[in-house]
Amino acid sequence: MTYGPSAGPKLVKAPDDHAHDAPHEPVFTGERLVELERICGRYPTRQAALLPALWMIQEARGWVSEGAVEEVAALLQVSPAHVRGVLTFYTMYHQHPVGKHFVQVCTTTPCNLCGAEDVVNAFLRHTGCGELGVTSDDGRFTVIEVECLGACGFATPVMINSAYLESVTPDAVPDILAELD
């Protein structure tokens, strides 16, 4: 499927990415399975544990593969189609592998007013990604624009993996990247 131009660029599958073809190693074994069952206990239905379960998969593997969809569907007694519908609804779940450092720059209006697009361009230039949604050749970075991060008073907020950076300016980008491994 291709996507319409109404929204910003999406994460794209790299042409040489064969992660999708690899056999699926179960995510929910041992401690993680225990944790999932514990989470299920918070809700009257097993289906309600789907968002937390997808988060666990992404934390473990960096993205959610087709095999993981089947696995979590069986565990939570829902259909794989339902899981895929949910997975594709929420933009924070990755349907493809992403760079080691996943950079999300807020460019919605309040930040845009404060020059967020210059921050995006600085990240694209300094990471070597060049293009939004594309992972850099060394596999270290993926940069995307993200819709409102809810920190508009701290323009421009940038999320790198789970870390929130506030009031980022284009000049600060090289130093930010230098701190990353």
Binding site: P5, T108, P110
Partner: protein, 443 residues
Amino acid sequence: MGYPHPRHPRETPVLSEHFGDPEARTLDGWKKRGGYQALEKALSMDPVDVQNVVKDSGLRGRGGAGFPAGIKWSFMKPDGKPHYLCCNGDESEPGTFKDREIMRWTPHALVEGVATGMHAIYAETGYIYIRGEFTEPLQAVTQAVAEAYAAGILGANAMGTGKRLDIHVHKGAGAYICGEETALMNSIEGKRGNPRIKPPFPAVAGLFGKPTTINNVETLTASAHVVKRGADWYKAFGRPDNPKSTGTKLFSVCGNVARPGNYEVTLGFPFKEFLWDLCGGAPPGRSIKAVIPGGSSVPMLTADECDGVFMDYEGMAAAGTLLGSGGVIVFDDTADMPRQIARLARFYAHESCAQCSQCREGTAWTTRILDRIVRGEGTYEDLDTLLEIGEQMSGKTICVLSDSCATPVASGLKKFRAEFEAKISKKQHVAFVPAQLVTAGGA
């Protein structure tokens, strides 16, 4: 404090009193600051009395709709069914970042508010839904909940009262629409965040099909203060001539403004003084052109129109806009209005859940037209089309995301039409033909 700036003397800190104070994040620190006295008091009261105190206080929903919180609670009757309280921490209305501060600086204040609300609506289980991007608030609230369980504040015997109070934190995963109350419930249930058709309303069949109340982070946090200090104390905040809007409210200020941040003022505060005195007006050397006063979904005001406006539900309505979530977005004279409005439309196109035809197609169409105008390829007819499709997108869908896209476009077009027309008139219709090709005698 006008976090992250020093507190302005004209602020009235209730919710924001401990912003920036790391000690307030811990259970001990919170207790030293008077924490959990409200919950203790609430648990000693009949739920109906808790409802009544909040009803009397005039506290209204701070998420945007402004529905009286006590009345919402009073819909919940002891009917023997499981009840749920959902706390809406999906804060994602562009321009709004107040709940984030409550959650990351005073997470126990929220836990206390949620527990108080649960008692008032006969619920044993509450879910705090926090958007997935809020990693720091998620961590702070999760930690606070764990501390509250360990201290016996939550659990099977909450504060030794024999009452069960369970609170769970549910992490979102990137969807603005989950801030809509029924979409949030679907999201907790492990579904796509699609808003549901109403009726049935949540108080009848909400989360997991059971009677449910959903309140915003700020509302629940404020409710604990109301219970602790009484309705009269809370009612005293506000314009004396407007008893419909009481209490304090956090306003988030962002965009082209000298001192962005969160400010807590009493409802009814004069908007102009707020913008210029507290927030410092536009950045140095510039002037304010327009303001969106209640989160990106509400009509915008020009700088002149901010004069004489009061910051409460009625005051904003009188000015032709809405108090909304209290997210104030400031545009200064350097702001390219068509470009910024196009960016806002793109936000809504990105976030539409895809259920209703008008919203799914209309938000995207609006975005494409605006993008074309910004590229210099627009026509005058486009402006009429934008207004007409905006009309078709308003008041016709399951939720108001569609309206939210149409509203700023319509008000932007109405108030800054000249900027749009300037982009259109610059268009080069005639192709450039090098002179040497125009030879005598033609072809």
